[in-house]
């Protein structure tokens, strides 16, 4: 469904992503794990068109998107939940969700909002509240709900567990599994490798801008090198 070949990304003179190639199959949960600064978020930003790769190709659902403007990529069914829960703080929960529906045809919005409320009952309770007054976990749910409003075929999540209490992290990962079961393909970027590998089908390990290992999630969990580097021995 998503195929990246030879991605090379630079921040000015800094060579951030070095010849990265990977793919995400339909219905999969694929995770990119790696330490701080390994380039995980950079890869997601490049896929969604916020940054550009110097070389190679990004193909999504059979179409080349490496030169497509980022707002049209969303329309094609690739949604990005950026790092750090970027919700519209001064808008209400419902308004945030409405913004997520921006690329979709009118008339289907209320139905879609109801579906998102089903998935996240907490958001329904707080629909009139300003997003800025939500807790971190609720904001993460809102960011995910907003991305779901655009009916994505592929959902890219950037560090959904960042800064959340362990209990909430589990909840979020539970929801990720449910979404996947409902047919959404997921590309998950995480520092919390344990949790990520527990829900994912496959994983890629990233180290300073390069993919060093790839395998089934279960195998990676057992891999000695990975355990040492990311799972605390």
């Amino acid at each position: 469904m998503l195929k990246i070949t030879n991605m090379n990304v630079y921040y000015g003179n800094i060579y951030a992503i070095k010849d990265v190639s990977f793919d995400v199959g339909e219905g999969e949960i694929v995770t990119l794990i790696g330490a701080n600064g390994a380039g995980k978020s950079t890869i997601l930003k490049t896929i969604s068109g916020l940054l550009r790769s110097k070389t190679g190709s990004i193909s999504f659902a059979g179409e080349e998107i490496s030169h497509t403007a980022s707002h049209t990529i969303v329309k094609r069914g690739l949604a990005h939940v950026p790092e750090g829960r970027r919700v519209f703080l001064q808008m209400s929960v419902k308004e945030n969700l409405e913004m997520g529906h921006y690329t979709q045809p009118g008339g289907t919005m209320d139905e879609r909002i109801a579906q998102v409320y089903d998935k996240f009952p907490r958001l329904k309770e707080r629909r009139r509240q300003l997003a800025g007054t939500l807790s971190g976990g609720e904001q993460q749910m809102l960011a995910m709900g907003r991305a779901l409003m655009s009916r994505p075929k592929l959902l890219m999540l950037d560090e959904p567990s960042m800064g959340l209490a362990p209990l909430l992290v589990e909840q979020i990962f539970e929801i990720i599994k449910e979404l996947n079961a409902a047919g959404v393909t997921i590309l998950l970027v995480e520092q919390n490798a344990n949790m990520a590998l527990a829900v994912a089908h496959r994983g890629y390990v990233l180290e300073t801008g390069r993919i060093v290992t790839t395998d089934n999630a279960a195998a990676l969990l057992q891999d000695d090198a990975v355990r040492k580097a990311y799972l605390g021995g």
Binding site: L50, T72, V74, V81, P82, F88, Q90, G100, A147
Partner: protein, 359 residues
């Protein structure tokens, strides 16, 4: 209990009646000669400052940028309008409309031109390049005397800015900006202010909307500029200096970034301040004050009238300390909402009374 709502057609009707009533009252006051000349002129000035503030609010308030070159767009509109009117190509009535549109469109073109490079910048950097742009326009006007009259000024501009014309322009500006902000485009603009990356990830073309906001803002600034030219009858480039931009920004900040009602009220207060102080200084009641205090009070009032920039600055400092969001924050006035509240309260009152009677 279902909350009471006034239906949309009634709302529009009410607002239309209010607008027409204000127009009639204003027109009567202005034309009957009840208002002294200085006051009448002040009303006109309030009018184009409202347009300037409401249009700047689009970029400074709703889009969340800090442009400091609003006087530049105003200058473009002023000169385009003035030159068109002086040419006398069209009969008076049509000339006014076409001249205003033309002034707005050329200013909007400049808005797009400044908007595109400015997109790459934000915050202080954007402020600096828009500031530079404003100054560039002024210097340019100064240096092409064959077209603009240069530093000597452009004379003999037809006095087209009657109360009626200015009032209609103010209403059109406010309604247009209001409708824009209520539309999905307005939402997109607001979301860029809130969080640009999130807006982008919702599929909003942030580049497009930023340029659009700049263009709209410049359009209305251009119209205000033309009105300014048609009011004075003379244009000199010095009128469109940096301080004018700052003046407009001050109105927006004081009124509340992102509040149209705030911009309107602040424009009225700040523009009328010198005249009001002057008026107070000559007010009869002051002569009843005991001894020297009469002179002191008069002196203070006159001083304020003459040094309005100091007062503006003071007001701004006080506002930033006491209410950093401006007079109205991002509250916006809605006649219908106020009426709805009143009616609801009355209904609740009745219901309680009814309950007491029965109990």
């Amino acid at each position: 209990m279902k909350q009471f709502h006034i239906p949309m057609p009634v709302r529009y009707g009410m607002n239309t009646i209010l607008i027409i009533a204000l127009l009639l009252v204003g027109h009567l006051l202005m034309e009957s000669g009840v208002l002294p000349r200085a006051h009448a002129n002040n009303v006109i000035q309030v009018g184009f400052f409202i347009i300037l503030a409401v249009s700047l609010n689009l970029t400074a308030g709703y889009l969340g940028q800090l442009p400091l070159g609003h006087a530049g767009f105003m200058a473009v509109g002023a000169y385009v309008g003035a030159i068109f009117w002086r040419s006398g190509l069209l009969p008076d009535g049509a000339s006014i409309v076409v001249g205003l549109l033309f002034a707005g469109l050329v200013a909007a073109l400049f808005g797009v031109m400044i908007g595109i490079p400015a997109l790459r910048l934000r915050g202080d950097y954007l402020a600096i390049i828009t500031l530079g742009f404003g100054e560039m326009i002024r210097v340019l006007i100064n240096n092409i005397p064959t077209v603009t009259g240069g530093a000597q000024g452009l004379l003999g501009i037809p006095r087209h800015s009657s109360f009626l014309v200015v009032y209609i322009c103010v209403v059109i500006t406010c309604v247009a900006v209001h409708m824009l902000m209520k539309s999905r485009h307005g939402r997109a603009i607001l979301s860029i202010r809130e969080n640009e990356i999130a807006a982008e990830s919702c599929g909003i073309n942030t580049t497009y909307y930023k340029v659009m906001a700049f263009a709209f803002s410049a359009f209305f600034a251009g119209v205000a500029g033309a009105l300014f030219a048609g009011n004075l009858g003379i244009l000199v480039p010095g009128e469109f200096g940096f301080m004018t931009s700052i003046n407009i920004l001050m109105i927006v900040v004081l009124g509340g970034m992102g509040s149209m009602a705030g911009a309107v009220i602040a424009a009225a207060i700040l523009t009328s301040l010198p005249l009001v102080m002057q008026g107070l200084a000559h007010f009869h009641v002051i002569s009843y004050l005991p001894g020297a205090s009469e002179h002191i009070v008069r002196y203070i009032l006159q001083w304020i009238a003459q040094h309005r920039m100091i007062i503006y600055a003071l007001l701004l400092i006080i506002a930033m300390i006491a209410k950093p969001t401006g007079l109205l924050g991002n509250y916006d006035f809605s006649l219908s909402r106020i009426l709805e509240k009143l009616i609801r309260r009355r209904n609740v009152g009745k219901a309680e009374k009814g309950g007491a009677d029965h109990g």
